[in-house]
């Protein structure tokens, strides 16, 4: 039975009619057309679908709409300021910190949460903050360097 849910996505108020147990990821990708958040496992175990939920990284594939209702959601599309990329995105480009890039949206979201809480992390802090994000191509070293670069403002 569909119900109506209110939430804020990338700063915009949204009202959506869905089944209560439809996932937030499904709504983002299919109802709101925000394809940057990726499906990876459907169990919250890989990080590809991470979004910020009230500022904290959360697996949107494993969050039903009833639980997302009323919250602030930030997706990878919401990191940039209009056409101006987020400093993390600039740093990822500068470091060429990706291979296939499928995991990157979720990693950017986790890294953004880290920098909001700890603007000057060291390598260990970054690795710990990204430990719930899997990357199969082996780009972790570049990704850590990119996050440190963004933190140093050295983009």
């Amino acid at each position: 039975m569909k119900r109506t849910f209110d939430l804020t996505v990338n700063g915009q108020r949204r009202q959506l009619s869905t089944e209560p147990d439809t996932t937030l990821l499904h709504v983002l990708r299919n109802d709101l057309g925000l394809k940057g958040t990726r499906f990876g496992c459907g169990m919250g175990l890989c990080g590809a679908c991470f979004v910020l939920l009230d500022g904290r990284p959360a697996p949107s594939c494993d969050i039903p709409m009833w639980s997302a209702a009323g919250k602030e959601v930030t997706t990878v599309e919401g990191l940039a300021d209009g056409d101006k990329l987020h400093p993390l995105q600039e740093a990822f480009l500068a470091e060429q910190a990706a291979q296939c890039g499928y995991c990157i949206s979720g990693i950017l979201v986790s890294a953004a949460a880290l920098l909001a809480e700890n603007p000057h992390p060291d390598e260990r802090d970054v690795a710990a903050a990204l430990d719930r994000n899997l990357c199969r191509c082996g780009s972790q070293g570049r990704i850590i360097r990119a996050v440190l670069r963004a933190a140093e403002g050295g983009v």
């Binding site: 990726r38 459907g42 169990m43 060429q96 990706a98 890039g101 710990a128 990357c135 191509c137």
Partner: protein
Amino acid sequence: MSSLPKGLAANPRLSRWITISPDGTVTVRVGKVELGQGITTALAQIAADELDVDLGQVRMAPPTTGEGPDEGLTSGSMSVADSGAALRQVCAEVRALFVAEAAVKLGLDPDTVTVHDGVIGDATGTRTVTYGQLAAHVDLDRDADGSARPKSADELRLTGTSVPRLDLPDKIAGKPRFIQDLTLPGQLYGRVVRPPSPAATLIDVDTAAVRALPGVVSVVRDGRFLGVIAEDEDAAERAADALRAAARWRGEPTLPDEDDLPGFLRAGPVDSAVVADVGTAGDVVRRLRASYSRPYLAHASIAPSCGVAWWDGDTLRVWSHSQGIYPLRRAIAKALDLAEARITVRHLESAGCYGHNAADDAAFDAVLLARSVPGRPVHVRWSRRDELTWAPFGSAMSAEVEAGLDAAGNVADWSYQVWSQGHTSRPGYAGSPGLLSAAHLARPHELPPPVDPPPAGGGGTARNAVPGYTFPRVRVHAHRVLRAPLRSSALRTLGAFFNVFATESFLDELALAAERDPLEYRLAHLADPRARAVLEAAAELGQWHRRGAEDSVGHGIGFARYKGRGAYCAVVAEVEAVHEIRVRRLSVAVDVGRVVNPDGVRNQIEGGAVQAASWTLKERVRFDRERVTSDDWESYPILRFSEVPRVEVALLSRPDEPSVGAGEAVHGPTAAAIGNAVAHALSVRVRDLPITAERVVAALVD
């Protein structure tokens, strides 16, 4: 006329490869696909270099059957070597045609014409014309004839520079770019309900209740192929869950004992081949012998596979992240008895695949489901569980190595035997379509035992089974197992990862027995200066001289030349073994001949080293006698951020040597270096991958 590169000889028509538009845009069509390895960027660099156009003028078109050249598969680290050589020749000929036309138009001697940033003219720049302006006057609908000479190393501007990847801006901005993001008009969503185990048979399924669910458009059953189609993804998932619950299956215990994979592999039946039998043994004073093994490994792509199909009247359109759009088209045609000309397969990017994963299978799933809804495109995405349990695996392998040492401790005799399932069951292999669901239909196309690429293609089971060292006598036998209870196919490096691990581990055991330093021992058996150079460079980068200076820390080294004729690579691993095995640092030296994109090569090497560390330390497909049980990221763990070693890369410059691929060079040497470092740290040898704390404890007890 000089001979044409292989890919060009098969697809000689220039217009297949290149279109130049009046606005100056150069559209390049290649048969090699972007897998996240950066090949699109490297090939764009090559085209821009040979044509003397700005990189911004080059547009790389998504490979599509019937449009671009058929270059077979994107595999085996051959794209830069094969497609790169073909594209260089194509662009050199296209450039020559435009130069000739410009000379006529401008009244210049062709030998004096220069090309710069897409502008063709005299040296002073007074009489010029652009590629775009000449586009309508130069007919590219002609065959390459080898008449133009590609540039030499010193004439290239972009080759050898780290041009940023062309695809990363979209991916880092989170733009829709992957096949998973494709949304076609009127698109429906399909899900397949797989059997619970490889040999399970369907007893019965009541589809009526599923058909009645909201949003369900169609339920498909054909043999043990079950699927649903719905108006949206959410409805498709719910319907698939209901269909799964409604199906009753009977399992069969067909799988081997996961704790005795060498026993399973060696029991055969096998197809055996003598890979090498050369030389005469020296004077042997002692013999050593050891067995090594690896488990089945999953490709474990971060994105579950995806395919899209659209039957419309007489035509079938397919979107796939396949490594080979033409082979996939042939396989679909064969499975459905369709004319190839009716089918178009277009490549779209997905996550990295690292070999033959479920990309082709997912495309065929979409084809089968979409057949029930003609006129509507159907988008099919696999589940994580299916990706980890139904995509082909890299085969388990087992090796028996024996060596005779002379009085100085040098190798006087070398014998190596390896057992493995075949490493290829790609679409079209062994005369079959080679598509998973085709084997599940009521009139099935069974999946034959996987095969191996021929030696000319680098082999499979035997890839890198012949050591790259100068030994007086070398015997190598490869045994391909003719049973495949678990489906196996190409996983990055095929047999090379394991063969290099086994060979290089044993070489360390020999060095230890001979009381020699492992680096010195290798160099003593190596004449090739390029091989020696990577070993010496890795040793320097990895501070080999500090070996043994720190308690509980081990240093190990590994070397191989990929396929015996590709990239040279050596790795020094620094491992800390206290409560757990921790790889702190991997120092890699690599020689890929002429480097097209240095940062691209570094990215491949860094990533490959981390992936190989993950295979070496953590990965193992788990199963009971009936079904695969490693079906999520907890039961199939891979290396995490906090576990990833620091990777340093020394890229040796060889501008005058032919370019060879970088994507698979580092895997084998990394595994060997880690194994050797663990043995150095703990004085115990783990010969069965993965090297886990439990395996180390078990080896200590032995």
